[in-house]
Each structure stands twice: as structure tokens, then as C-alpha cells.
Subunit: 249 residues, 2 copies
Amino acid sequence: MTTPRTTRLSRDTRESARGIPDATVARLPVYLRALTELAERGVATVSSEELAVAAGVNSAKLRKDLSHLGSYGTRGVGYEVEYLVYQISRELGLTQDWRVVIIGVGNLGHALANYGGFASRGFTVVALLDADPDVVGEHVAGLRVRSVDDLEDVVSGDDVSIGVLATPGPAAQDLCDRLVAVGITSVLNFAPVVLAVPDSVDVRKVDLSTELQILAFHEQRKAARVAVHAAGLAAADEDAAPVRTRVAR
Amino acid sequence: MTTPRTTRLSRDTRESARGIPDATVARLPVYLRALTELAERGVATVSSEELAVAAGVNSAKLRKDLSHLGSYGTRGVGYEVEYLVYQISRELGLTQDWRVVIIGVGNLGHALANYGGFASRGFTVVALLDADPDVVGEHVAGLRVRSVDDLEDVVSGDDVSIGVLATPGPAAQDLCDRLVAVGITSVLNFAPVVLAVPDSVDVRKVDLSTELQILAFHEQRKAARVAVHAAGLAAADEDAAPVRTRVAR
DNA sequence: GTGACTTTGTGCGTGCGTTCACAAGTTCGT
DNA sequence: ACGAACTTGTGAACGCACGCACAAAGTCAC
């Protein structure tokens, strides 16, 4: 979701050779994390039911997801943890190192640069860029912050494939355009804007404010339901009637 | 998706009177943001097509989404921006103030506490909690960081309805349990763990590492496709033959 | 080797979400 | 007043995803 959810990731809906459904891909990292934990605890084998509980999904769904990667389980036994970790990692492309550039070293950029989860999974932050001259030159997470003016140099020179935008909203589209122009094809966007990119570029958006608003909606609905129950059905009818007038405006 | 997807938000699938599909709810904040921008630019009226472009969705989908809220458009004209902003805000529950507590004031917690998008949309951070004695007592975003020991006091005393977990993974489940115990029914989880909660509690998870891994998958697939094309169809056929399984699977 | 037991892999029905395409309603020019 | 142009709201078709339920395949005890 997704959702949070996704932006333009299914430009090619044709079921390709190893066509793994997007919904499955989105869950693989969760499985991977659960499996890694199991491995660290020394667990050698796991059933779909156990893993499903750990990942917070239905066991049938888990099995179907894994079946898209191949038949890596053993009936009557389960899945070998280490082996499955490797297979999922390979499928996700985590057996190679991905070079990442983070643009925007404010509060969020700091957090991202220091986030251990990146480095631990084959992602290497190769550069931090910021537009603020006061920030440029600072050392964050072992890297010297460089100016956004160097964007083209950094991305072209080094073999960077993923750009992370942690800037204020207004700056994001321009920087995104520049990233795309230098050949970046994957962008993780934390700025509160909808980025326009060519079809060949994948964008995923993470929006804190959006998530809170979705929670607020459900929270409100829960509160309303309780209120209706408390007030009885008569009150609910009163509410429903005026809504019809509102349709006519 | 997206994507960052959702955890157990459809416990009650029954299409209620105002039953708005989850997929629609997830997009309303995006529409709201686009509309707010238009309003600030002084735009009075917008067509579904224009708004759809601004929000990065299909115009038919946009119209269907909005139709779930009621008939707020005018045929031949479009939607009145201010009015639509109000209607969506009301539907999302943003006309009331939601009180939020942030737990974990590390890099990410700092970023969250200082994030303008919260306050601007009816969310008030009423407390920051941390387990680290060195952090407790610091002032962040105009609030004094308090100890997690005060969690129960803070949440019960004040009328807090949403908890944000920005702690390391291992601490999250315990803190979540305590939040639930004191009556919190909505949790936004940044910790890299799958939280176990009662059905009555909504959890949304934001996972930076997951997002990057999904991007890596697509990036890898793009690279693979290019490689096949570059190698020519002969090579592709060689591949295809053994993978006749590819067709029949 | 055989039968009881466990667990995977998947065919199938169902429901949700997306998109098309068009009727219904509104404005504008003449 | 009327027709052309526009735009919303929605019926209907389609496709994807989920989850049930079971056959296939393996293990274990004896």
C-alpha cells in the first residue's frame, strides 16, 4: 500500500518470464526480515504457518508468494531458512550493491543517512547533497555533505542507480528532473509532491502526513460508530436525511 | 502499494452507508494536497482531468473516488476547489484536532517532531517520549522530551488518540502493547517489526528499507531486460527453450 | 514397506479496484 | 431558444488479489 501506495510501477503489465505480482514483491522484504531474524536465532527450518505469523500475513498467501520464486520448500517439512533468505535476496536484487544518493540533509536526511537498515541490505549511500551552504561541508554518517551543484558529477561519475529525495516540496521536482537527466531510473521520494517522471523511471513515495490522515479517517469512523451505537438508530436516521439535501447542493 | 501497504484496516468489510473503499481513502490525502496548492494559487475551479494530473492518477478513478463522498461537482464546469477541500477534510476527520504522541526521539523522531506537515493538518504533537536518559529533558520542537516511563500518564491524562513509534525494532512491540493498554487505537509504526495488536487497533507501517528493496527489484528487472535486448534474440531463444517451462510454468 | 501425519503448492471461487464509455447535466455562442 | 462543446457521475466489463480447501509429496514410527 501501501500502501502506501505505489506510483507507476506496472507500466508493463504483461506477465513476463519471471513475472512476480507487484503485491508479492511488496511483501518479500517483510518475509526477508522475518527470515533474517529467525536465522539469527539459529532456526534452521520454518513452516509457512510460522513464517506467516511472523510476517503478519495469511499462510496461504505466503505460500503463493513464495511459489512465484520457485519451489523452494519441502512438503511435510517447511522451508530452509538460510536458503530462502538467499533466494529472496537474489530475487530482490540484494546480492548486488546498490549505490544511493540522498538529496536534502535536513532532519529527515540526517535520519536516512544514519539509518542502519540501508547499509545492512546492500545499499550504499555514496553521497549526501544539500542546497544550504551552511549544511554543505558538514560531516554526516561519515560523509561530507556536498552541494547540490555537484549532483551531475556525483551521479554520473559514480555508478549511482537510486536517488532519495528528502527535500522540501518545492525543490523536489527540479532535482528529480536533474536526477532523471543524468540517468537515474529509481527515485524514493519523501517530499510532499507528486513527481512527474518518464515511464521508464520508477518512483515510490513515502508521505508521513498522508499516513496520519489515513489513520485519522479510521479513527474518526471508529468514534462515529461508537456514537451511533450509543445514540441508537434514530439519531443515525436524522443524520442520513440531510445528507440527501446536500447531494442537490 | 501502496505499497507500504496496510495492516488490517478492513476488519469490517460490510459496505456501510458512507462506506468509502480503502483504496479511495488512501488517495484522498493526495487530492487534498493538490487542491490546497490550487487554492493557494487562487484557482477557484478545477476539472477532474486537471486535478487527476496534479494528483498523478487517472481522471475516471478520481471522479469515482470523489463520487463516494457525494456529488460535489458541477457537470460542464468541474469542482469548486475550496468546497472540495472542505469536504475531503471533513471526510478524513481533519476538521478536528488529533493529539499525537511520538515515542522515540532519535534521528527519525527529531525529523517527525519538526515536520511541518503534521501541525498544518490538524495534528498536534502533545508529547515526545524516549527511553534514553540523555535525551530525556532535551527540548525538541518546543517540547521537553519526557521519559517513556510517563507513557501511561501522558496518554491517559491528555486525550491522545494516535501513537507514533519511531524506536528501534526490539522496543516497539512492548511500547505498542502499553499504548494499546492505555486506549490508543491508531498506531503509525516506523520500527522495522510487524506489530501484533488487537483487531480494534489500526496500525500503519512505514518502512524505509522495504521501499528501497522494492525499488531495487524493479531496477534489477530493468537491467535484466536491457541485457536480454542487448544480447539479441538468439540468446533470448536459448533462454526461452529450457524455460518452455516459462510458458507452461 | 506401510500407514498415519505433516506441510507445500495450487486450482478455483469470490470480491475489490480500475478503466472504459456513455448518458445526463451545464455553459456558451449565436 | 437552440445546438455545440464540455464535464460529471456511473453502469458494466475486466483483471488482479485473496483465501479456501485439497491433492501431491515428503517424513516418521514401527
